[in-house]
């Protein structure tokens, strides 16, 4: 491509658009099922149980330590399939590109997206691009829809029982803090990497356990939000142990400085699993044996004797974790 930046012409349906699709999207995403000429593609799925999900991505900045909006668009949707008990097979991709975006940036992002999809073994088979006028979009928005096939028994919050153990697959809050630092809004810098990653190995490992009740990836709103959702769905309380919660030191330091609570920060490559207590240590061992599960920990249990999410603090105090109200403001003194 001769152009260096996206112009409105790249959305006009003509030669510019064809070039953009062929040279950026089709070139990187090429696979046996992708046909950029077709209006729709046939896909084959060897299963009666098909899972289907969709997600949109608007992260700012577009690139951050440990990932970019392209890898996030694959991880976000495939992780939703994975925690629901599916193996992701196909993705569609919508790109809303703002006029003026550097084509080199777009290409980096789509290349990462393609590599991420290839690692997970999922094919992008349908797509669309639109160009937004300058000032009407944050550089690039992506939306992906995912199709997967079931690889385990049906998971649901309805399965959760009193006394069930709660396991998290790794340190919490890394993604939230990494993206926040990348914005450089607070004059803070750090080398905290986002945890954005596929959770498919983790969820596949968890599926061999009969006592697995439910899994979720704690994205926006973090662990506290997953626990609040379980409380609302089951009416049973959740007791968490702060001492057991894996939080990296630099993440904790930034939280201390800005008044954030790691319990409410987004992860993009972690899983929270609810499992029968008799299988909790076996699942923990399986996860810890995986590279992405090294820091996994049992962080609490379901407690029907109360109706809130309660955290036992490091020093033996207690604190109720309520539903996230709004984004905290930076402190002023």
């Amino acid at each position: 491509m001769q152009d260096t930046h996206i112009s409105l012409a790249h959305g006009n349906g003509g030669r510019y658009m064809r070039e953009l699709i062929e040279e950026i999207f089709a070139r990187h995403l090429a696979n046996t099922d992708l046909d950029v000429q077709a209006d729709a593609v046939p896909i084959t799925l060897d299963s009666k149980d098909i899972l289907f999900t969709t997600d949109g991505f608007t992260v700012q900045p577009l690139e951050f330590p440990g990932g970019n909006i392209g890898s996030l668009a694959v991880h976000g949707t495939t992780n939703d399939l994975a925690v629901a008990g599916a193996i992701p097979k196909y993705l569609s991709l919508n790109a809303f590109i703002e006029e003026g975006l550097e084509i080199a940036t777009l290409e980096r992002i789509i290349k990462t997206l393609a590599e991420t999809a290839a690692e997970i073994g999922v094919k992008v088979v349908a797509g669309d691009t639109k160009v937004l006028r300058r000032g009407e979009g944050g550089g690039l928005y992506l939306a992906t829809t995912g199709v997967g096939v079931r690889n385990g028994h049906i998971l649901s919050m309805k399965n959760i029982k009193d006394g069930d153990s709660i396991i998290v697959s790794g340190s919490v809050g890394d993604h939230g803090i990494a993206v926040m630092l990348a914005r450089e809004e607070f004059g803070l810098r750090g080398d905290i990497q986002s945890d954005a990653a596929s959770v498919l190995n983790l969820t596949t490992a968890a599926h061999i356990f009969e006592g697995l009740r439910f899994m979720r990836d704690p994205t926006r709103g973090g662990i506290a939000t997953v626990c609040s959702e379980m409380l609302r769905a089951t009416g049973m309380g959740v007791r968490l142990l702060q001492e057991q919660l894996p939080v990296r030191d630099p993440v904790q330091s930034v939280c201390d400085m800005l008044g954030y609570d790691p319990m409410y920060l987004a992860c993009e490559g972690r899983v929270v699993a609810i499992v029968d207590p008799s299988e909790a240590s076996a699942l923990l061992e399986r996860w810890q044996a995986l590279e992405e599960g090294q820091d996994a920990a049992i962080i609490g249990h379901i407690d029907s004797s109360m109706q809130h999410v309660l955290m036992e603090t490091d020093i033996g105090g207690e604190r109720i974790l309520e539903e996230l109200e709004d984004d905290p403001l930076p402190r002023i003194c």
Partner: protein, 365 residues
């Protein structure tokens, strides 16, 4: 040897129990750590931890917030303010802008900042525009504003100052005859700047034990242990449990900046009234950067409840430690972070906001 929070807690539990002891803190950061660590539940029942005047946003005069809103709406300026200030409500008629955030929605150019250097950058980036920095805060945020002025700022930057000193509010409580506390945890950050000696009067003049604390549970618990022992032994002194950062005499250069750029005056605290020697005003030498001199005063004494807390709001009582946040009848009902009525529910330093965020939501009634 460093002592962990758990060990301090054990030592406190080993102390002989006694009648109720009320320990006041005067720093939003202290209250946040106490609440988030669940210290109240972990301490013996005879100890009550009282959040006192530790939130500069909460006591920022209503008329100053009103002035900032009016300047932003009526003058051709960019108004910058610490993020917390944007949602502090004033008492105006329904159709009028009640907060800076609402003024912003009505088209005023208002930008939240996190440090004075951002105010300078915004002024430099907009040389053709007057930039007004609405600076509310205790010594910890006022000292950097003073430093900014002393070091020199762009000619288009002025300051609408609402700086306050921490100790005079504690002095006022102690002199009232009903202080409402038996011991004081003195603020760590304020002491790093002004020196721990500022709190000596609590011990010397009022016979109340005091200890300076940092923000980690271990430092707060060390300070609590110190004041409890002082009470038990009847030997009172000012302890420094944050000696890694709080040095005798404080930060001399910050103090020099404060005394060069500002003067201390008898200042108004929202809902509380005038407290002697408790506020900062800009020195005459900085008149060219004093928004109060450069722009008209929009004060309107006829305005209903001018200077007061909003109707029904007990923030002033909460700030003074007279009641706990959940004893206000609006707490968690009409007044929540999403739709705060009083400033204590707005600021991260406000006791109401901290209690709500920490899940302490049961009404006391």
């Amino acid at each position: 040897m460093t002592v962990s929070a758990k060990q301090w807690l054990e030592r406190i539990h080993e102390l002989p129990h006694r009648g109720k002891v009320k320990i006041m803190n005067v720093c939003g950061g202290h209250e946040r750590s106490i609440t988030m660590a669940g210290l109240r539940k972990a301490l013996p029942d005879y100890i009550e931890l009282v959040p006192g005047p530790g939130c500069p946003v909460c006591v920022c005069p209503e008329e100053d917030v009103f002035e900032a809103i009016q300047l932003a709406l009526n003058e051709d300026i960019i108004l910058v303010a610490f993020g917390d200030m944007l949602r502090v409500p004033v008492n105006v008629k329904k159709a009028q802008a009640r907060t800076l955030e609402q003024a912003k929605a009505q088209g005023a150019d208002i930008r939240p900042i996190a440090s004075p250097t951002e105010a300078v950058s915004i002024a430099k980036a907009n040389p053709d525009k007057a930039v007004v920095f609405f600076a509310a805060g205790f010594e910890t945020t006022t000292a950097p504003v003073a430093a900014m002025l002393v070091e020199g700022v762009p000619s288009n930057l002025s300051v609408l100052l609402s700086g306050r000193l921490t100790w005079p509010a504690v002095a006022m409580l102690l002199e009232s005859g009903e202080p409402g506390f038996d011991a004081l945890i003195a603020p760590g950050h304020v002491s790093t700047i002004m020196g721990p000696e500022e709190w000596q009067f609590v011990v010397d003049e009022h016979n109340i034990p005091a200890a300076v604390a940092g923000f980690k549970p271990e430092s707060l618990l060390a300070a609590m242990y110190s004041v409890l022992r002082q009470l038990n032994e009847g030997r009172y002194f000012l302890d420094n449990c944050y000696s890694e950062l709080v040095k005798d005499g404080g930060n001399k250069s910050a103090q020099a900046h404060l005394s060069k750029a500002m003067n201390v005056y008898d200042a108004n605290w929202r809902g509380i009234g005038i407290i002697p020697s408790s506020g900062y005003i800009l020195d005459k030498a900085y008149s060219d950067h004093d928004a109060r001199k450069l722009f008209p005063a929009y004060a309107d004494d006829a305005r209903k409840r001018a200077g007061q807390m909003p109707p029904g709001c007990d923030c002033a009582q909460v700030v003074l430690g007279k009641i706990y946040p959940n004893e206000c009848k609006l707490f968690g009902k009409a007044c929540m972070p999403r739709n705060p009525i009083g400033p204590c529910m707005v600021s991260d330093e406000g006791a109401c906001r901290i209690w709500w965020a920490g899940g302490m939501r049961e009404s006391a009634q």
